[in-house]
Subunit: 384 residues, 2 copies
Amino acid sequence: MENFVFYNPVKILFGKGQIANIAAEIPAEAKILITYGGGSIKTNGVYDQVKAALAGRNVFEFGGIEPNPHLETLLKAVELIRKESIDFILAVGGGSVVDGTKFIAAAVPFKGDPWDILAKGAPVTAAVPFGAVLTLPATGSEMNTGSVVTKWETQEKLFFTSPLVFPRFSVLDPETTYSLPPRQISNGIVDAYTHVMEQYLTYPANAPLQDRLAESILKTLIEEGPKTLANPQDYDARANLVWSATLALNGLIGAGVPQDWTTHMIGHELTALHGLDHAQTLAVVLPSTLSIKRDRKWQKLLQYGERVWGIVEGDEEERVNLAIAKTRNFFESVGVRTRLSDYGVGLDTIPVIIDRFEKRGFVALGEHKDVNPQTVEQILTLSA
Amino acid sequence: MENFVFYNPVKILFGKGQIANIAAEIPAEAKILITYGGGSIKTNGVYDQVKAALAGRNVFEFGGIEPNPHLETLLKAVELIRKESIDFILAVGGGSVVDGTKFIAAAVPFKGDPWDILAKGAPVTAAVPFGAVLTLPATGSEMNTGSVVTKWETQEKLFFTSPLVFPRFSVLDPETTYSLPPRQISNGIVDAYTHVMEQYLTYPANAPLQDRLAESILKTLIEEGPKTLANPQDYDARANLVWSATLALNGLIGAGVPQDWTTHMIGHELTALHGLDHAQTLAVVLPSTLSIKRDRKWQKLLQYGERVWGIVEGDEEERVNLAIAKTRNFFESVGVRTRLSDYGVGLDTIPVIIDRFEKRGFVALGEHKDVNPQTVEQILTLSA
């Protein structure tokens, strides 16, 4: 096992009716800004629950945060917070609203151009405190410090992280997710699954507990994902998806083990260039990454096949092939297509993506830092 | 799944050499009190590492905290802290030192008799901040808010919990545990195993992820426990035990599911009256509790048997019996005996224990609140 530091102070309020308890989590005199997205919270009852919970409090609003939140939009919220001296932000929405709010929180006290936090890794030294009411199980952003923001002008999708942007609390009420369209639930299943795979499907590191925790989440997603798609108002199935998605990326399963993240890095480019949903890019790239890097992931592919998919027959190569095929089939079975061609993306995107990586100074990816531009080309070619 | 609140802000510094990093976790101007136990830290190098890490800092010491820490001892530390205006405590030792330090931390600012925190559930409204350097994997105290203290005068062993007594940080360096006697490692395995069972072996609650996380820890203890006993300096085996013991009782696996704790409540009495090690009491009581409450734990006993022990043959009763027998055999196999008679305790202890429960106002135990004095008698009789 590798040395690690694990720290996650996010308070999770999980279950039916928990939105009613948020007032106690926000300082009494705070000027509060509610951030949200396209307005679905106003039709599904979540907005009303939040307003009721904050009755009598000093509340401002900022809506319109897009999927893959845009820098240009978020900077307007930064301006509003500075102007109104807001003390606390409440993100109400899915991963994009939470990610966007993390950036807003860090940008408000930032000296200089806040884009530097993403583009140049400029250090975050302060942030406005915030909480979250999560309405879409997928990204894990509600219990971690990561944020991905897109600069619309240049179609760049970049990442930052800072311990200062942990949510103070996150409400996870599965009932608030009942009204989501099936596509977003399908995406959430694939997103959570891939988060686990990025931290698990590397090489053996003498960390059997972390392996089993990761396999626990994968097996639960395989079992509960189809259930919650078939019966969106089955409370337990939805609750199990929500909690799985949160634990998939809260630091626990990745503590003390190698991590990959190749699939995410390539996927971000596909979203930035072609507008694919984040999860769609993962469904396209992950099976190819596993296949191209199979030699270095061999032992874990065998373990994954056996423990997660029950694959015990055949020689090692057959088992590895089947484990990868099962992964692809699972994504397809929950309704997320796994080929670039399914989204009308041609192989002419490959040199563009590699060029973008190289312009930012290509840093080799993967648990062995051996994924170079040529490997990216192989992965994307196999994703055709 | 039941509603829950999960909050655990303890920063874990895990791995080789992490003691060197504690100075950064303690406020620079703090007057620090190091609390410890019988002095083994002075012979195994841990004390020297701590002192080196805190070189130049204002450090006081308080040693002599016993296993099953005594109120009478802890109150002397309270006095010292008040007299010297100590700002920060650093617990260096096993679960007893950490538990004792939690009580000290809460008792210092407490108005009135601090024993009321345990005996009367008096609310804790403030606590001295503290961190921990854990030297014995077992109790999970390093990442939770629970504390058990014994009043020597009356042989009462009682429990309190408060979110104010989370350690600010805990160092878990597996190498610091190499010099422990085998009996303490054996005890740690049984303690961690039983912590999981108290949160897992109840009834199905539509929480498959929590079930699998619990089973992950059990399987890892079954696999790594014997390894670390056989090769105390196998770093990975020891690291896996340490991390398993911490995650066994940090709130995660118990979030959203019913919990039992019958075994612990009965076990505490056996320690208080007869001086058995905590883990010895658990090894004696758990198999009997599972057996006596089998009807209400039936489905989970079958699941546990199949998933943890691979028991798939025989009728349900045979499988349940085998699952319980496997549990007992595992405890015996790691060197902890499972019968009252192994410790020279006779059945005449039963009325004494029940009388003690009743004098404190017997509160029915177990996940169904149906463990009454008669059930306790049955459990202890079966433990003969």
